[in-house]
Subunit: 95 residues, 5 copies
């Protein structure tokens, strides 16, 4: 999983019929300081995530498992709303 | 899924026979400002995308699901034509 | 596998029910000098890794195999606690 | 698929027996101007590609499908010889 | 496959039991000049590779196929010892 923030949605009238009814959320991956990191993706929402929420998302087969749609052309899904992140960054300086 | 723009096609006379009849579109991934981002890919069109259109594409197993060709050597497919992108970028500044 | 250090945890009350009971650890990939390298991920702990420990983690299908949960939306798992790394970096200069 | 150029071969006497008889081609991914982009890979040739040819290659499961060897440790295959690339780069400037 | 050099090993006493008995080799991906390129990985040795040897390695499902352990949490394996690399780099300048 990666940490991201839901920042928008896309509308696609013409699409694979297996995607009808899915909520397609633009999700921006974030670093540990919650700053944008890398390219945004379009993830299927499976947990009722709202715009602006901090989420955990998965990619690949895990995203079809999350959507309970193994036969849909999905390659990224939101699987959790993050309430809290506890990090001890000082650990990164210790060898 | 990722956001891209269809910018061309390739012609390949000698190819895997399972690819015969597929439309191979050169697709450029875009960032949220719709500027090119990262390397272009050759994606199979499954929704009738035309040159210049803004699309959503998937990679990996999802692309074979999209093409309804699980036994074809496909690793990227266009799955939707994007009509509209709604983003609230100010959310990226909020921690 | 890659080398990483467990630097924290996330709390997600609202999440895919298949993730209930998994320990979600923020893991920072490291280079050979044990400095941070690339973006951190949220990996499922399958070996009792503690905060601060040096670990080996896998991604993709291997992570669901590690978790013994093939039907869970998992795409990264910790599979070992690293006791020792033996590297001969001088080999990198030899052609 | 990605665009690449076959620039060489490797010889490996000691290798997985499932790879015996495969043609292992060093393939350099290219950008749209056909300049090298990113790291080269070793791809299995499935279409009779020669040194110097412009090719389309796939990665992951698609590469085993291409090789018709689902039980071989293959993660990249050449699936087509590119005759022609038609691109309209001006489309990348249009938002 | 990618080209790499085996530069070390890791010791992990506490690990997934399916990994017991596997040889975990730190492998550094190399560019075509055999200089380090990108992050090192921990790959399972399936061909008797020694420290310092130039190898071909695969990632993903192909690595479990190589190890003949489809139910092990493996995501990278060494599949060949490279005896010789024949490259014609001048081809990269030809469009």
């Amino acid at each position: 999983m990666k940490i991201g923030r839901v920042i928008g949605t896309i509308v696609a009238t013409r699409k694979d019929e297996k995607l009808i009814g899915t909520k397609l959320m633009i999700t921006q991956p974030l670093d540990l300081d919650l700053n944008p990191l890398g390219e945004s993706i379009i993830a299927v929402d499976t947990v009722g995530a709202g715009i602006g929420e901090l989420v955990a998302f998965v990619t690949g087969t895990a995203s079809r498992i999350a959507a309970r749609k193994m036969d849909s052309p999905i390659d990224a899904s939101i699987v959790g709303i993050i309430d809290e992140i506890d990090i001890n960054k000082s650990l990164l300086g210790n060898k």
